[in-house]
C-alpha cells in the first residue's frame, strides 16, 4: 500500500471537511438544490484530489523537465473560444468562424513541445547562470535576452537521476485504516447511544 502523501491528503481532508458541513446542512432541512449544489462542489474538489493522488502515484512530482517553448496555440484557441461565445451576442454565424482558429491551434500545438527524450540546449538570461538540469530549448521570455550557454558549462552535464521512490509500508497503512474505521464506528455508536439516552 502507498504511504500517505500530504499533497492529496490536504485536498482530501478539505473535501471531507466540506462534506461534513454539507451533511450538517442536511440537518437543517434545506431545499434539495442547495444541498446537492454543495455536494457537487465537494465532488469537484474530491475529483481534483483524486487527480493529485494519481499524479503522485505516477511519480509526476518535482520539477518538470519537458516544457513547451511557446503558447501560440493557446492564443489561437482563445480566439476560437471567444468567437464561439461572441455568437451568443452577435449571431451564431460568428460561432462558425471559431473553427478556423481552433483548427490552427490544433495544428500549431504539436510543434510547441519538445519530443520526449530530446536533449535540450540550456539557455539563460544574458549574463546570468543558466538553470540547472536538462530542461528545454527555451527562447526565454523573462525580462532580458536568452543566450546559449557554452558547451563546457556544467548545465550541459547529464541529467540528475530521480531519487528512488520510497517503498510503502503496508503494515502501517493497514494499521491506520483499522484505527480510522474503529474510531468512526465508535463515534457512530456513541452518537446513536446519545440519541437513545436523550
Amino acid at each position: 500500500m502507498m504511504k500517505l502523501k500530504p499533497a492529496h491528503a490536504v485536498v482530501g481532508a478539505w473535501a471531507a471537511a466540506n462534506l461534513v458541513l454539507a451533511l450538517v446542512h442536511l440537518g437543517f432541512h434545506p431545499r434539495s438544490l442547495p444541498f446537492f449544489l454543495y455536494i457537487g462542489g465537494t465532488a469537484v474538489v474530491a475529483g481534483f484530489g483524486l487527480a493529485v493522488l494519481l499524479a503522485v502515484r505516477a511519480g509526476r512530482v518535482g520539477a518538470q523537465q519537458r516544457q513547451p517553448r511557446r503558447a501560440s496555440a493557446a492564443v489561437l484557441a482563445v480566439i476560437g473560444v471567444a468567437l464561439g461565445l461572441a455568437g451568443f451576442a452577435y449571431g451564431w454565424w460568428l460561432s462558425a468562424l471559431a473553427f478556423y482558429p481552433v483548427a490552427l491551434a490544433a495544428w500549431v500545438l504539436r510543434g510547441e513541445r519538445l519530443p520526449r527524450g530530446a536533449r535540450p540546449w540550456p539557455v539563460a538570461l544574458d549574463g546570468a547562470e543558466p538553470a540547472r538540469g536538462p530542461r528545454l530549448v527555451y527562447h526565454g521570455s523573462s525580462i532580458g535576452d536568452a543566450v546559449p550557454v557554452p558547451a563546457e558549462h556544467p548545465a550541459h552535464g547529464p541529467p540528475v537521476p530521480p531519487p528512488p521512490r520510497p517503498q510503502p509500508s503496508a503494515t502501517v497503512q493497514r494499521g491506520i485504516w483499522v484505527v480510522v474505521l474503529a474510531s468512526a464506528a465508535r463515534g457512530v455508536l456513541k452518537a446513536l447511544r446519545g440519541r437513545r439516552d436523550g
Binding site: 499533497a7 490536504v10 478539505w14 466540506n18 458541513l21 450538517v24 446542512h25 437543517f28 432541512h29 434545506p30 442547495p34 449544489l37 454543495y38 462542489g41 469537484v44 481534483f48 493529485v52 503522485v56 512530482v61 518535482g62 520539477a63 518538470q64 516544457q67 513547451p68 511557446r70 503558447a71 501560440s72 492564443v75 484557441a77 482563445v78 473560444v81 471567444a82 461565445l85 461572441a86 451568443f88 451576442a89 510547441e112 519538445l114 530530446a118 536533449r119 539557455v123 544574458d126 546570468a128 547562470e129 543558466p130 538553470a131 530549448v137 527555451y138 527562447h139 521570455s141 523573462s142 525580462i143 532580458g144 536568452a146 543566450v147 550557454v149 557554452p150 558547451a151 563546457e152 531519487p163
Partner: protein, 552 residues
C-alpha cells in the same frame, strides 16, 4: 555570448518557429510563469483604473443631491460594470495572478505546471474583460443589472440589448480563465515543489494561495453554471416565470459568489503576513495554526453562501447564520498570528509595511460588519442599504486592496529589479489611508439613515448630503493616490535595474534568486538554498549570525 559546443543541438527550434524574447509573439505567447503572472497583474491594475474611474464618476454624481452627471441608465451601467470589473477582472485575477508569479518562486520550482494552459487562461481572462467592457459601445449600453445579475431583471424581456449578452460572455470567459489558472497554480504548489520543500515548509503566502485556489476549484464551476442559466434565460425568458429558477439561480450564483470573496482575501492576507514577518524581522508566529485556520476558513467559506438569501425566505437561515458567524474563529486565529508576529519584532516601516499594518484594522471593520450582516434579524434591516455597501467596501477596498498594495510594494523589486520610490509610496499610502476611510465610513451612516444602494440621486431633504459629500471628497483622495502610484511606477521603471536579490531581508525562496529572476527562477549562480523551515533565508541568516558570534 556564443555557443562553443561542437556537439549537435538536438532540439533547437526551427528558425521562426517561436517568438524571440522581445518580439510580440515572445511576450504574448510566453510560457514563463513570471511573464504570464506579470501580464495578469498588469492587466488587472489597468482594469482597476477603469473601474476606479467609473466609481469616481458615480461619486461625482452623488456629491450633491439631484445632480445629473450621469443619466439614470448610465448610472446603472456604471455601478454594474464597476462591481463586475472589480470582482471578476481585478481582485480575483490579481489574487490568482500573484499566486502564479510567486508560488513557483516560493517553492523552488522552475515554472508553473502546464504553462501553455496557464497562458490560455490569461487570454480567456483578457477577452472576457474586453467583452464585458465592449457593452458600453452597444446601442443600449453595458449591462445594468448589478454585478450578480438576478433574473428576471437580467432576462432579455426586462433588459434587452447586447450589453447583458456581452456581460454573460465576459463572465464566462474570465471565470473559466481564472478556474484554469487557479488549477495550474494549485497543481504546482501541490506537486512541483523543490526537494526539501515539504507541505509544512511552504510559506504562508503559498498556503493562502492553496486555500484560495481550493475554493476556486470548488466554486467557480458554479459560476459557469449560473452564467449558463442566465444565457438560457436570455434566449428563453419564460424560464424565469417559474420562481424555482429565480431562486435556483441565486443559489447557484452565490455558491460561487461568497467563496470568491475569500478568494479575493486569502492571497492578500498571505501577502500582508509575509510583509509583517519580514519587516518585523522574525518568523511568522503560529505558522501551523495559521495554515490550519486558513484551510478551515476556506472550508467554512464554502458553506455560508445562503446568508446572501436570508430575505428570500428560501434559505436555511439558522445553518447559514451559524456557519457565517463561525468564521470568526479561524479569522481570529489569523489575526492573532499576525499581531503576535509583530510583538517583540525589530520593526521597520517601509511603504509595504504601512499598507500591511493598515490592512489589519480596516479589514477587521469589514469582517465585523459582515458578522452583523450574517445575523438574519439584522440582515432584514440592512438589506439593500448603504450599510452593506460600506461593509463590502471595507472588506475589499479598505481590506484586500491594502493587502494588494502591500504585496505590490514588497515584490515590485523582485519582479522588475527596481525598488519603488519610498517617498512617493508613503504619499500614496497616506492619501489612500485617509481617502479610504473618508469614502467608506460614511456609508454606514448613510445605511443607518436609510439610503438604499444603487440609487442615482437623492433629495436635499433626505438627509444624505453631508455623508455623500464627505464620501466623494474621500474618493477624490483615492483618485489622487492612484495618480501618485502611477507616477511612482512610471518614474521607477525609467531607472536602471539596481535592486539586489534581497532588498528587504526576506524570508522565503524568491529572495534567494536574482531580481528579476532568471528564466527558470534559480540558476547555478542563484541556486535553491537548503530548505529547513517555512523561512529558509531567515534560517540561513541566523545560522550565519551564530557562526559569526561563535567565531568572534
Amino acid at each position: 555570448m556564443t555557443a562553443t559546443a561542437d556537439r549537435p543541438v538536438p532540439a533547437s527550434p526551427a528558425a521562426g518557429a517561436g517568438g524571440q524574447p522581445g518580439s510580440i509573439v515572445g511576450v504574448l505567447a510566453s510560457t514563463d510563469h513570471k511573464r504570464i503572472g506579470l501580464l495578469t497583474l498588469g492587466t488587472a491594475l489597468v482594469l482597476m483604473l477603469v473601474a476606479g474611474g467609473l466609481a469616481l464618476t458615480m461619486r461625482a454624481q452623488l456629491v450633491q443631491p439631484q445632480l445629473h452627471v450621469l443619466s439614470n441608465d448610465r448610472y446603472d451601467q456604471f455601478f454594474t460594470i464597476h462591481g463586475s470589473v472589480m470582482i471578476f477582472m481585478v481582485m480575483t485575477p490579481f489574487a490568482i495572478g500573484m499566486g502564479l508569479y510567486l508560488v513557483p518562486l516560493q517553492i523552488g520550482a522552475p515554472n508553473v505546471a502546464a504553462p501553455r494552459t496557464t497562458m490560455f487562461s490569461y487570454w480567456l481572462y483578457v477577452t472576457g474583460a474586453v467583452a464585458m467592457l465592449s457593452g458600453f459601445f452597444t446601442d443600449v449600453g453595458a449591462a445594468d443589472h448589478g454585478w450578480y445579475a438576478y433574473p428576471p431583471l437580467s432576462t432579455s424581456r426586462y433588459t434587452p440589448g447586447q450589453g447583458v449578452d456581452l456581460w454573460i460572455v465576459g463572465v464566462a470567459l474570465a471565470g473559466l480563465g481564472m478556474l484554469i489558472m487557479a488549477g495550474t497554480v494549485l497543481w504546482t504548489a501541490l506537486l512541483k515543489r523543490a526537494p526539501g520543500m515539504t507541505m509544512l515548509r511552504m510559506p504562508v503566502f503559498t498556503w493562502s494561495v492553496v486555500a484560495a485556489n481550493l475554493m476556486v476549484i470548488g466554486s467557480f464551476p458554479s459560476l459557469l453554471a449560473a452564467d449558463g442559466i442566465l444565457a438560457i434565460g436570455r434566449v428563453r425568458p419564460d424560464l424565469f416565470t417559474h420562481n424555482a429558477w429565480n431562486i435556483g439561480y441565486q443559489d447557484v450564483f452565490w455558491f460561487f459568489g461568497h467563496p470568491v470573496v475569500y478568494v479575493m482575501f486569502f492571497p492578500y492576507v498571505g501577502a500582508a503576513a509575509e510583509v509583517l514577518a519580514t519587516f518585523a524581522s522574525r518568523k511568522f508566529f503560529g505558522y501551523k495554526f495559521f495554515v490550519i485556520s486558513q484551510l478551515l476558513f476556506a472550508a467554512l467559506s464554502m458553506s455560508v453562501w445562503g446568508h446572501h438569501m436570508f430575505t428570500t425566505g428560501q434559505s436555511a437561515n439558522d445553518y447559514f447564520s451559524m456557519t457565517s458567524i463561525a468564521l470568526v474563529i479561524p479569522a481570529g486565529i489569523e489575526y492573532f498570528d499576525m499581531l503576535a508576529t509583530l510583538v517583540g519584532g525589530r520593526l521597520r516601516f517601509p511603504t509595504a509595511m504601512l499598507f500591511a499594518l493598515a490592512f489589519i484594522p480596516q479589514f477587521l471593520v469589514g469582517g465585523l460588519t459582515g458578522i452583523m450582516a450574517a445575523t438574519p434579524a439584522l440582515d432584514y434591516q440592512i438589506q439593500d442599504s448603504y450599510f452593506l455597501v460600506g461593509h463590502w467596501h471595507y472588506t475589499l477596498a479598505a481590506g484586500s486592496l491594502f493587502g494588494l498594495f502591500a504585496g505590490v510594494y514588497f515584490w515590485f523589486p523582485k519582479a522588475t529589479g527596481r525598488v519603488l520610490h519610498e517617498g512617493l509610496g508613503k504619499v500614496h499610502f497616506w492619501l489612500w489611508f485617509v481617502g479610504t476611510n473618508l469614502t467608506f465610513l460614511p456609508f454606514f451612516w448613510l445605511g443607518f439613515h436609510g439610503m438604499p444602494r444603487r440609487i442615482p440621486t437623492y433629495l436635499p431633504n433626505d438627509g444624505f448630503t453631508t455623508e455623500n459629500l464627505i464620501s466623494s471628497i474621500g474618493a477624490g483622495l483615492l483618485g489622487l493616490g492612484a495618480m501618485v502610484f502611477i507616477l511612482n511606477v512610471a518614474e521607477t521603471l525609467g531607472r536602471p535595474r539596481t535592486a539586489p536579490p534581497d532588498p528587504w531581508e526576506g524570508h522565503t525562496l524568491e529572495w534567494a534568486t536574482s531580481s528579476p529572476p532568471p528564466t527558470f527562477n534559480f540558476s547555478l549562480r542563484y541556486p535553491v538554498p537548503p530548505v529547513r523551515s517555512y523561512a529558509p533565508l531567515l534560517d540561513l541568516r541566523e545560522e550565519e549570525q551564530h557562526a559569526r558570534a561563535g567565531a568572534g
